[in-house]
């Protein structure tokens, strides 16, 4: 138990350290460009003033170390925006709902394939082919189905899950992993002795799939950009990032990127946790 606690702590610390280092790096790069508000080209002017990019970077680095140019208050920033945390949860809601939908659909089709080994899995092949379509074209198609109405939340989930080869990647990876587990000697032996195949394969499946599924989070996060831009009511981290780039608000860009990196790293490390439990 102590060993498990220490390993969990190690994984969590690792994810926090990685996130903090990336956030610090991004902060170092971008925070300067938020110093002066307004429409003028702050970055270009600054570089011109310092006579070149490298001179500007050196000057900025020195000023940053001396903390002379450190002019922002994170609390004021967050209360000013007011919605940043809400947006984070909105994105996570979209991603987790899609992940749930993918788990249910892909596993159902994969288990049907295992049960009916002799028959060709046409449904899986068709869905995998459809998923090669670009999310925007899929969005255009789904929009046509709801002419005049707003797209429902489940519509967005289907678009993220079924486009940009997301379903295809989940389906092929899970199928090959499932085949590997089901062909393990100990599972075959359990089946020969009359035990349930699923019950014996379950620990291996939990370990393997938790790692596999969490590694696919970046893929889902990529698709949220299109959805959040399309639907202003469902603003999230991605729409914040786009807004930040459009308005040259590099602090917003840095914050949103930092949270993206944190979510990805944290969930990836969380996916590794079941492997810690397993003594193998």
């Amino acid at each position: 138990m102590l060993w498990f606690g220490l390993r969990s702590l190690q994984v969590l610390l690792k994810s926090i350290m990685v996130t903090l280092s990336i956030v610090a790096l991004l902060f170092l790069i971008f925070s300067n460009f938020h110093v002066n508000e307004g429409d003028e080209d702050v970055m270009g002017a600054y570089i011109e003033e310092q006579e070149g990019v490298f001179a500007a970077m050196t000057d900025y680095l020195i000023r940053y170390i001396q903390l002379q140019n450190f002019e922002f208050n994170i609390q004021a920033y967050l209360t000013g925006r007011g919605t940043f945390v809400k947006h984070m949860f909105s994105t996570m809601k979209l991603v987790s709902a899609t992940l749930f939908f993918l788990i249910i659909s892909v596993f159902s089709i994969a288990f049907i394939r295992i049960k009916r080994r002799k028959e060709k899995n046409i449904l899986g092949s068709i869905l995998a082919s459809i998923s090669s379509i670009h999310a925007l074209i899929f969005l255009a198609g789904v929009t046509l189905l709801f002419t005049g109405d707003e797209l429902p939340f489940w519509g967005f989930i289907i678009i993220i899950a079924m486009s940009n080869s997301t379903f295809k990647e989940f389906y092929s990876d899970i199928n090959s992993e499932l085949d590997r587990i089901m062909n393990e000697k100990y599972v075959q032996r359990a089946v020969a002795w009359g035990y349930s195949r699923i019950v014996y394969a379950l620990p291996d499946m939990v370990i393997s799939f938790s790692r596999l599924l969490t590694s696919k989070i970046p893929l889902l996060l990529s698709s949220t950009f299109i959805i959040e831009y399309y639907s202003p009511n469902d603003s999230g981290l991605a729409s914040d990032l786009i807004l930040g780039i459009a308005q040259h608000d590099y602090f917003l860009v840095m914050s949103a990127t930092g949270v993206f990196v944190f979510i990805t790293t944290f969930l990836y490390n969380l996916g590794k946790l079941p492997a810690v439990i397993d003594p193998r």
Binding site: L136, A140, S222, I245, T264
Partner: protein
């Protein structure tokens, strides 16, 4: 051996329409203006005719001319990035296959780092860098720089694939025989390993990269961060027509689906060609 009809149909379907479109786009009139009738009014949603083979769109533009210009712009935007991807990826792949130790490990670390960043996020970060360092440039130049930077970063994928392929091929018996016969190492590498054994891998990865570039260009234009205004790319066309997508339900306003169908077709032939090459590799 009879005539292979299936292969002939496949090749006609894959090579003829894109080649024709590319050829026609080279001679397209670069001035895109709204089509006017005799009374001087803008002609909207016109059906196909000899003068306007694909009719006119909700802005009064000739859809056919718009499409050719979009293809022309995309060729200009993607030409150098594709060549950079191909050359850098191949050279890096060759270099890595002969490199041992820390260099290889460093490259693997860099590759893993690049792969762990979501594609759109990576693009947006590259966009910020391009915006910051080349703020005085026009939209086309910025996009050109962005895609070139993206190609350089992505070339690591080709390098990784090629490294594995070269390492496997080098262990084969015929390479030993070639050495014993006295062939020069350069001839073995470029002719026997790269050309005879790796060319399909290189081509398949490059075709996949082209499909990815089309995806990326359209996505950026849709997010209002890519081609806009006078940069008439496929993405710009798509985002311009996207707001009229509901018009597609009326059968006489089918023009809005042209960029979507074009994109689907291009991606389909690129994916088919990639799969076919990998199957025969």
């Amino acid at each position: 051996m009879g005539f292979n009809y299936k292969l002939a149909i496949y090749r006609t379907f894959v090579f003829l329409p894109p080649s024709l479109l590319i050829l026609l786009s080279l001679f397209a009139d670069e001035d895109l203006s709204s089509v006017l009738d005799e009374a001087g009014n803008i002609v909207l949603w016109a059906q196909p005719s000899w003068q306007h083979p694909l009719g006119t769109d909700p802005y009064g533009y000739d859809v056919y001319q718009f499409l050719l210009l979009a293809i022309q712009t995309d060729i200009k935007l993607f030409a150098l990035p594709i060549i950079s991807f191909f050359l850098i990826g191949t050279l890096l792949g060759i270099g890595l296959s002969y490199m041992q130790g820390i260099g290889n490990r460093m490259f693997d670390m860099f590759f893993n780092l690049m792969n762990s960043i979501p594609l759109v996020l990576l693009l947006l970060l590259l966009l910020i860098i391009v915006e910051g360092f080349f703020s005085g440039q026009d939209t086309f130049s910025k996009l050109f720089l962005l895609f070139t930077a993206y190609a350089i970063v992505s070339s690591s994928k080709l390098a990784i694939e090629l490294r594995g392929k070269i390492e496997t091929t080098r262990k084969k018996d015929f390479i030993e025989s070639s050495k014993a016969l006295g062939l020069s190492p350069l001839k073995i590498l470029f002719k026997h390993i790269l050309y005879y054994n790796c060319r399909k891998t290189i081509l398949a990865t490059t075709l996949h990269f082209i499909a990815q570039l089309i995806f990326v260009e359209i996505t950026l234009a849709y997010l209002n961060l890519g081609a806009s205004g006078d940069v008439l790319s496929l993405g710009n066309m798509f985002s311009k027509y996207f707001s009229y997508i509901h018009a597609f339900t009326k059968l006489d306003q089918w023009h809005v689906a042209v960029p979507s169908i074009m994109t689907l077709y291009l991606i389909l032939i690129l994916t088919l060609s990639t799969n076919r090459m990998l199957r025969h590799d």
